[in-house]
Amino acid sequence: MTILHSKEKLTLASELIYEIKVKDAMTRDVIYFSQDSTFREIQSSLKKHRISGAPILDEKKNIIGMVSIDNVITALDEGYVNEKVKDYMSRDIITIPQNYSLVSAIKKFEKYKFGRLPVTKNTRTDKIAGILTMGDILNCLLVSIQTIAEKVEKKEDQNTLLSDKMIGQDKKKRLQFEVKKADFDNAGQVASMIRNYLQKLNIEKQILRRVAIVCYEAEMNISIHSLGGHITVEVEETKIEIIATDYGPGIPDIEEAMRPGYTTASEQIRALGFGAGMGLPNIKRCADYLELESSMETGTILKAIIHVEGLGG
């Protein structure tokens, strides 16, 4: 895993060195010397700025040479440390224009083994624009990678937020259906619609069937026995709640109504295959939780809950 990870980073870095320009990575605040500076002056300045080399510029800020700590050591060693740099500095300088990509700079570092590259304004001039070290390049790459990582992270956060929001909207959705009195022809339609909707949510077949049965029986009950009402289905993360409400007249004896085979349906309704006295027992069998509240004044409220494990999975 670790190896894979660092390989990925390397791929990213090698893409970046083609994209990033020298001017984006270089140090613009250049420490430099004139050709009349002595090695002694250079040595103390390098020490002060904690750098190991610097360009030599003329009055017009053109690069005319490079001096490094190595040159200073040699000067100390050979006893010309108080002399001016112009007679000893390397005039054979390698520069890089600021609009080149980092990959060319890296190639030059590899080829010439320099610690730093003076950067020119463009290919046609020696006028200095900045100075570039391998440290600058690494630093710039790290900053770029971090920025990319932050962007990705932000995007992922947004995506998570967005999908959470979408799931939230979807799953918290309440469906409400009107159920008309004695509308046997269309009865069962609400259950069908709810079933179709839940199917789209990828709910497990077994659960789907139980919800459909609860809805169907509740729908039939409203249609057969009441003055009309409505069914509400609320899908949440862990449960599906079905609430069937009617406008009356209410169930006189709930306990009796729950008894399988008990029915108050008319002969005509029973001839159609309804009113078998099995509606409520069926609901009870399919629901994990059932609550029935009935008043002879306001009507009946049936609340059934079916638990769902890992909705949408």
């Binding site: 046997f184 069962g188 078998a276």
Partner: protein, 114 residues
């Protein structure tokens, strides 16, 4: 057993033929709640209740074929709804007891062979 085989063996009339699915079970009953409570999926349902609500019940229980017995009249609405919901509708002049017996022995015979 394939639905088409049952149709052929029992000389049933095709009213709506949707899908020649595999029929594994059967259920005979005229009470909606009873069918809802007890029928298995992939069943053929034998009943005299030829109204739109029967299609809704079949749909809920994943019943793919309904056989109406005693030559009960089937309204165009029922046929339309069955087509919409992809449920096959069959018809026979025989009563539920006789045709259930035939289908039962077909399905059972099949299982004994295999």
């Amino acid at each position: 057993m394939k639905l088409s085989k049952i149709i052929e063996k029992c000389s049933l009339e095709k009213v709506v033929f949707c899908l020649d699915g595999e029929i594994k079970n059967g259920y005979t009953g005229d009470l909606m709640s009873d069918v809802i409570a007890n029928a298995n999926s992939n069943s053929i349902w034998i009943t005299i209740q030829a109204h739109k609500n029967s299609i809704a019940v079949a749909l809920i229980k994943d019943i793919s074929a309904i056989l109406f017995t005693n030559n009960v009249p089937i309204s165009p609405e029922v046929i339309k709804k069955a087509k919409e919901e992809n449920i096959s509708i069959l018809k026979t002049p025989e009563n539920s007891f006789n045709v259930s017996g035939k289908i039962y022995s077909l399905l059972e015979g099949k299982t004994e062979q295999s």
